[in-house]
């Protein structure tokens, strides 16, 4: 019956306490306490996430849906990581507590979790991140087509910044001296004046947006994130 009202009341209470804590040293540390409660909630929800992950991929595997092999790899990876982490496989003895074989952290080198992170997760992550350079090139190619006045201005500015940040720009603008070089134009005009003013306008807007949205949520005006009442 009060599926919406109770969360709103909790949000309101917590929010106002946090605001008061910012201004009163008497409430020092209460923010940390609330964050700890959030971590406890998140840890409980993590179990829900793990169960959801297993159920979803098990369904795909049992129904032999297209791409079920990816699900099998995901599930195997999840279970193996969970298992070796829980039993602290390969973790050396703690120097501080040598008599207690389980005392050391599960991340210690050369444990199994450390190995998985170093040789599987880290390279995979780096590979995904490296793809970004290709996507930057394709996005820049589309964005810099001078079809309109704005796009032409963007292209011109981007060219100056590119030259200002590269050795070619230094060589090309050498006869003009330091004051009128591409590097100087980039640093002291485009980045410091035009870019900074634009960024600050966006940041001020964001700050005001955060304040107004927080107020709407705290006062229960905005309830769209809460779900159904029944």
């Amino acid at each position: 019956m009060f599926k919406r009202q109770i969360p709103i009341a909790i949000a309101m209470l917590t929010g106002f306490i946090m605001v008061a804590a910012h201004f009163s040293p008497r409430l020092e540390g209460i923010g940390g306490l609330v964050e700890s409660w959030f971590l406890v909630l998140a840890a409980m929800a993590m179990v829900l996430g793990g169960v959801n992950l297993c159920m979803h991929h098990l369904t795909l595997i049992t129904n032999l849906k297209p791409g079920w092999a990816y699900s099998a790899i995901t599930l195997t990876g999840f279970l193996v990581t969970l298992l070796v982490g829980l039993i602290k496989l390969g973790v050396p003895l703690s120097e501080q507590y040598p008599k207690h074989p389980w005392a050391n952290s599960y991340e210690e080198s050369p444990g199994a979790i450390w190995w998985l992170y170093e040789y599987i997760i880290q390279p995979s992550t780096s590979t995904m991140f490296a793809l970004l350079s290709f996507f930057v090139a394709s996005a820049a190619f589309r964005a810099f087509r001078a079809k309109t006045t704005e796009a032409a201005l963007l292209l011109g500015t981007a060219l100056i910044v590119l030259l200002g940040r590269s050795y070619a720009g230094t060589v090309l603008s050498a006869p003009l001296g330091d004051t009128y070089s591409f590097a100087s134009l980039t640093d002291f005009v485009i980045m410091s004046v035009i870019n900074t003013s634009g960024q600050r306008a966006i940041v001020i807007g964001i700050a005001l947006g955060v304040a107004a949205t927080s107020l709407r949520i705290l006062l229960g005006m905005d309830r769209s994130y809460l779900g159904a009442d029944e």
Binding site: M1, F2, Q5, I6, A9, M12, L13, F16, I17, F23, S24, P25, R26, L27, E28, G29, I30, L33, A42, A45, V47, L48, G49, G50, N52, L53, H56, P66, S124, T125, M128, F129, L131, F135, V136, A139, R142, A143, I202, V203, I204, I206, L208, G209, V210, A211, A212, T213, S214, L215, R216, I217, G220, M221, D222, S224, Y225, L226, G227, A228
Partner: protein
């Protein structure tokens, strides 16, 4: 309505309950300090170094509340059209016509981030629109709490649209907390299922361009919104519509169409007016400081503005 017992119970829980709890919790804290922190021995009730922050926050909040009240009493509220939000209906309609799914990514951060909450508010509208067309929204999440909240939001949207049967719990699922593993899964799904509409609303980091370029490569209509200013250029380059910073926070109020929520947007503009006034005053004082004949006043006033009011060293 005022005869209704449930109404008064709800009002009590909403207003009187929190106030009582606040008093019960806050007063002992103020007088005896934090019992969970034995070392917190400060006797100061109020940190006066933050007085200007309180004044500015109070002014902005008063503006927002004043405009909300005015709108509730029937005052005229004009909100400029936001192209990205107007495009939601077209994007969802197009996806339904093409028989392809809709992808909604609520960022990669948890529910304690306001951008994620704002993203979920937009999800509510997208899901409602999709339910009306009997289409489903695929929502991969990188936090399990977000998954739980997104399920509630989508279910409520389907009920609101009068199509509770359209709700599919499996379409909203947890992927992983790991940033690039999440990207790999979402990009893989995008390439396999080829969604016709992609929405990216929330807090994004390096994955913004990876996701948006993948969506672009399958020819989807893309609408993005984030308050991460460093990621905005990537979304602008790769998406059809982008909600810039504050527009993401305004989206919920805009889409709800409720006068009091729209009024709060007008209150935000009063805050902008205050920011502009302070900027102009700062520029003027910084210029006047250069004229020694004007004495020490411009410098003193400039110092008050920058060091005391804005808290800059």
């Amino acid at each position: 309505m005022f005869q209704n017992r449930t109404f008064w119970i709800a009002i009590s829980i909403l207003f009187v309950g929190p106030l009582l709890l606040l008093t019960l919790f806050l007063i002992p804290y103020l007088f005896f300090g934090n019992p969970f922190l034995p070392h917190a021995t400060s006797n100061v009730f109020f940190d006066f170094s933050r007085i200007w922050t309180l004044v500015l926050v109070s002014l902005v909040c008063a503006g927002v509340l004043g405009c909300t009240l005015r709108a509730r009493l029937g005052g005229y509220v004009y909100v400029r059209p936001i192209a990205g939000l107007k495009a939601i209906e077209d994007a969802v309609g197009r996806a339904t016509e093409m028989g392809r799914p809709i992808l909604f990514v609520p960022g990669i951060m948890d529910l304690n981030e306001l951008q994620t909450v704002a993203g979920l508010s937009v999800l509510s509208s997208v899901a409602k629109e999709a339910a009306a067309y009997e289409n489903s929204v695929h929502v991969p999440t990188s936090r399990s709490l977000v998954m739980t909240a997104a399920r509630e939001v989508v279910q409520a949207a389907c009920i609101d649209a009068g199509k509770p049967d359209v709700y599919q719990e499996d379409s909203i699922r947890y992927v992983t907390d790991e940033q690039f593993a999440y990207v790999a899964e979402v990009c893989g799904w995008t390439q396999r299922e080829k969604p016709a509409a992609c929405f990216y609303m929330g807090q994004f980091f390096a994955e913004s361009l990876l996701l948006a370029e993948n969506g672009n490569s399958v020819g989807a209509i893309q609408v993005a919104g984030t308050a991460e200013s460093s990621q905005l250029p990537f979304f602008v380059a790769a998406c059809d519509y982008t909600l810039l910073g504050e527009e993401l926070f305004a989206a919920s109020a805009y889409l709800s169409g409720e006068p009091q929520q729209l009024g709060s947007l007008q209150g935000q503009d009063l805050g902008k007016g205050l920011a502009v006034a302070m900027l102009l005053a700062g520029c003027l004082l910084a210029t006047l400081m250069q004229f020694e004949s004007l004495g020490p006043f411009p410098k003193q006033a400039h110092d008050v503005l920058t060091k005391q009011i804005l808290g800059r060293d």
